[in-house]
């Protein structure tokens, strides 16, 4: 982050007073001790105490806070539950942290239209809980779903284990209320599908808090599948497991979830939860199928045959809900399991064309030796989203830096084989400097021009996503100053 703006620091008391007037004294935090809990999100290697925290209780208060910040020239970092794994909600020393946690109500459940209208601070899982008794759920299920907020899910376009079949957040939204940095409130979409003209809903989703602040979300609800069954099998190599995955999709089957773990991850998970994972295997494949029982039973048999014919051994199929949960237990606990065998770990999130997996794993093993750091891999095998967990000890001088360098090399490798830097965690502050490995200058300039269309003064979440902040004037964006267009002679129709 660049050095803090001294003018912003000097204006802080006046700014806080204006905020207090708009939000009430309980809605603004400036006490240094009370600010401390907001210093980081899920990427705890980065910490920064914000200038102030605002906790609005309504769309009107969000709009007021943004308007005041805009008029004062103060930067704003929006935050949901603070579970970002890419530093998306990392505060700025000279910026306001806008916490949306008080906007935590489910406003309406509309089952005939199969949707729910919720405020951004509602947790992902709370939506599914609210409609479970009626047999519905909200499909995207990031692993932090018990804590992460739907507003944060929109900002990050969060995924989860089931997004191979049911899509990411962007595929499960119907409408948004958005407040722009100027305080202007937009309502996009609703209970109907697809935009009239430009898809602002699609653009906002995954924009990492750089374009606007989400104050209301309309999500699609799906009917809960009648049954779900899981199976698992060990493989002697990641190549064999990868071939089985390709064959399953090649047979026209899109499982609800398809996960792979490598040997270090299998061992860590098994030591932690004792799920009965095969310790001699080089790769473990977990496949879940859901739908009507007759369909699931049929698919379980077909997938089982494919797995066996590709060398899968120790095949176990869940015969009960308890067994299904046991099969998943190790995978779902993979991160804390790795946390047990190492003081610290660093979770990466690249996506690769699945066919390149063996090569990527091989080179990752070489990098592991080169950096002297262990790595465990969990992998959303169906969609090629890789989560290498780099094991390190932050108390050993240089290890954090080595882990970060190792992580960057892995992501460069993902791009080199035709993949991308991030599948579901976002770029944030973590991967912004790697953006040029995937995008050229023209590509990045075009993206930043889109930013300028929403936030010409670059006040919303600056320092995230883009390696270099380009001023809008420099990018040749068109500014309207005092109602004067730059080329008044051009026909405007």
């Amino acid at each position: 982050m660049p050095p803090p703006d001294q003018a912003a620091l000097a204006a802080a008391p006046r700014f806080a007073a204006a905020l207090r007037e708009a939000l009430g004294p309980a809605g603004v935090i400036t006490d240094p001790v009370a600010l401390r809990p907001y210093e980081s999100d899920g990427l705890t290697a980065y910490r920064q105490v914000p200038l102030a925290v605002a906790l609005p209780r309504s769309t009107a208060e969000v709009a007021a806070a943004l308007r005041i910040a805009h008029e004062s020239g103060i930067k704003v970092v929006p935050r949901g539950s603070g579970t970002s794994l890419s530093g998306g909600a990392l505060p700025l020393a000279d910026g306001l942290l806008l916490g949306l946690g008080k906007l935590n109500r489910i406003l309406e459940i509309d089952l005939p239209n199969r949707c729910a209208v919720v405020q951004p601070g509602v947790t992902n899982l709370a939506i599914s809980h609210a409609v479970a008794a009626d047999g519905y759920y909200y499909a995207p299920d990031p692993s932090s779903q018990i804590a992460c907020s739907i507003g944060g899910n929109v900002a990050e376009n969060s995924g989860g284990v089931h997004c191979l079949k049911y899509g990411l957040t962007t595929n499960n939204l119907l409408g948004l209320e958005i407040v722009l940095i100027t305080g202007e409130v937009l309502r996009i979409g609703g209970r109907h599908l697809d935009a009239g003209l430009y898809d602002i809903l699609g653009l906002m989703t995954g924009s990492e808090g750089l374009l606007g602040v989400v104050t209301e979300v309309t999500v699609r609800l799906l009917k809960k599948p009648e049954t779900a069954r899981a199976m698992m099998a060990g493989f002697a190599s990641s190549e064999a497991a990868g071939a089985a995955v390709a064959a399953i999709i090649g047979a026209g089957i899109i499982p609800a979830g398809m996960e792979m773990m490598d040997r270090p991850a299998i061992h860590a998970a098994e030591d932690f939860v004792h799920a009965g994972y095969p310790l001699e295997a080089e790769a473990l494949l977990i496949v879940e199928l859901d739908g009507p029982k007759v369909e699931v039973d049929d698919l379980i048999a077909r997938v089982g045959a494919i797995v066996a014919s590709h060398g899968g051994s120790g095949l176990r199929v869940s015969e009960s809900e308890a067994e299904r949960l046991t099969i998943w237990a190790g995978r779902k606990a993979a991160f804390p399991a790795v946390g047990r065998i190492s003081p610290d770990y660093y979770c990466m999130d690249g996506t690769i064309p699945r066919g390149r997996l063996p090569e990527v794993l091989r080179r990752m093993t070489q990098l592991s030796a080169q950096y002297g750091l262990r790595v465990a891999n969990v992998f959303h095998a169906g969609d090629g989203n890789l989560h290498p967990l780099i094991l390190y000890d932050a108390n050993k001088p240089g290890e954090l830096e080595a882990a970060e360098a190792f992580g960057s090399d892995i992501l460069r490798l993902c791009v080199e084989v035709g993949g991308v830097l991030t599948g579901e965690h976002g770029v944030g502050v973590e991967k912004r400097d790697l953006m040029p490995t995937m995008f050229g200058e023209v590509d990045l300039n075009q993206q930043q021009r889109v930013k300028c269309a929403f936030d010409a003064d670059l006040l919303l979440n600056p320092g995230k996503v883009f390696p270099t902040l380009r001023r809008c004037a420099e990018l040749g964006a068109m500014h309207v100053r005092g109602g004067q267009l730059p080329h008044p002679d051009l026909p405007r129709f």
Binding site: P112, N113, R114, N157, G175, L180, E184, R187, I188, G190, R191, H192, L193, D194, A195, G196, L197, Y198, D199, I200, L201, G202, L203, T205, G206, S207, L211, K223, A246, I249, G252, G291, P292, V294, E295, D298, T351, I352, P353, G355, D383, G384, G418, V420, L421, G423, E424, M435, M438, G440, V442, D443, L444, Q446, R449, V450, A453, M478, R492, F493
Partner: protein
């Protein structure tokens, strides 16, 4: 009209850069099958992207296909069908509606109009399967966005923005799509003779059931009979058609679920008949005889579709309609020569949200800003448009007088 026919990205970039230097607006087109959709504007030069054709990469096991934007939809459909896969958003063929040759779209045109068919509420829209692109912006710069893998959140999701932008943000050279396995088989239940309200109730119940339909359309009295696949079965009566797709075993179970919900006279279309019916449905077979009517496309909250139709019929007794998406999509044929094709009256009905787009009308009915119904303030859309195309060269005026 001058026509530019680039065959490489580099040529495309040079042509746009020259237009930028000369302040010369360009009509962006593929095969031109949807050239009459949008405000009637006559631009002196057409930039035809049909020459940027060909499937560049198709990896069925990765569920990803990359092709030139000018590749014909026909070629893509054929390639993916040979691997047992399909475009799940089921792009309909609007050629006949516009009085053009059938089956003559390019994939770029389908994406640029975010054109999705009857499976959209269940599988997603064109925009949901659009993973990445290479395009030339209004400055003549070649840029890319998105990626070539199915799961990616790196940078802004510009593919979403370009989908449905009618070429106004970039001239696309290459598109990458998510392709998924096609269902093994299908079956459609036809409920014969339901009135609008009963049909809406049946569709809403079916969509909220474990029958898991992937199509729910209502063709009122006199409309269903225009479908060759239904002719002889429904006479002059109405048809509510619910589609099931998947494995034979799964369909056998789910049809039982449907039958539990739906009462009254019915029949089934087998896989072959069902496939034919849904293709006809996408091509708006039932509305084709209304040659001179203005055609509107409404997107509304699905459970309220019948209420919207009832209100529309009170206002415009001569209109004909069909409902798709379980009530969420209404195709409306409005006769007459009203200058706005009754746009303001139609939009006045959408009290529960939604939008209406004029898809087809005579030139004199497509002059104003009633053709599209933007959801965001036009100021923001204009800034966005200019962030890609500062001189508004691409399809200038096609969407709105200020875009």
């Amino acid at each position: 009209m001058q026509v530019l026919n680039p065959t490489t990205e580099a040529e495309l970039g040079e042509m746009v850069a020259a237009a930028h230097a000369a302040d010369a607006p360009l009509e962006i087109a593929g095969q031109g099958s949807k050239a009459d959709w949008g405000r009637a504007v006559a631009l002196p030069t057409r930039l035809c992207l049909a020459g940027l054709a060909g499937i560049r990469d198709y990896a069925p096991a990765e569920l990803v296909l990359t092709a030139g934007a000018g590749t014909s939809l026909r070629d893509i459909r054929r390639a993916v069908a040979s691997e047992g896969q399909h475009l799940a958003f089921e792009p309909p063929d609007l050629g006949p509606l516009f009085g053009k040759a059938p089956d003559d779209s390019t994939i770029g045109g389908v994406i640029a109009t975010n054109l999705s068919g009857s499976r959209r509420p269940f599988a997603g829209a064109a925009r949901d399967f659009f993973l990445g692109f290479r395009a030339v912006n209004g400055r003549g710069e070649l840029f890319k966005a998105g990626g070539k893998v199915v799961k990616n959140v790196t940078g802004y999701d510009l593919p979403k923005l370009l989908a449905g932008s009618f070429g106004t943000l970039g001239a696309m050279a290459e598109v990458t799509l998510k392709i998924v396995p096609a269902p093994e088989t299908s079956l459609s239940l036809v409920l014969i003779g339901q009135d609008l309200v009963a049909a809406q109730a049946a569709m809403t119940a079916a969509l909220g059931s474990n029958a898991d339909p992937t199509g729910a359309v209502y063709l009122p009295d006199g409309m269903a009979g225009h479908h060759p696949s239904l002719a002889g079965h429904v006479g002059a009566g109405s048809a509510t058609v619910l589609r099931l797709e998947g494995s034979a075993a799964s369909i056998a179970y789910r049809r039982g679920e449907l039958e539990r919900i739906c009462a009254g006279p019915s029949m089934y279309l087998d896989h072959h008949e069902s496939t034919a019916f849904w293709i006809e449905c996408g091509a708006l077979q039932a509305l084709l005889p209304m040659r001179d009517a203005a055609i509107w496309l409404l997107s509304v909250p699905p459970a309220g579709g019948a209420d919207v139709v009832l209100a529309l019929r009170r206002l415009l007794p001569d209109c004909r309609y069909m409902m798709d998406w379980g009530g969420g999509r209404i195709w409306l044929a409005v006769p007459g020569t009203a200058p706005d094709a009754h746009g303001s009256a139609i939009r006045g009905v959408l009290v529960d949200g939604g939008h209406a787009t004029l898809i087809r009308a005579g030139q004199q009915q497509r002059g104003g800003d009633h053709v599209f119904q933007p959801e965001a303030p036009i100021d923001l859309l204009r800034r966005l448009r200019r962030s890609f195309d500062p001189k508004c060269l691409f399809n200038r005026g096609r969407l709105h007088s200020e875009l």
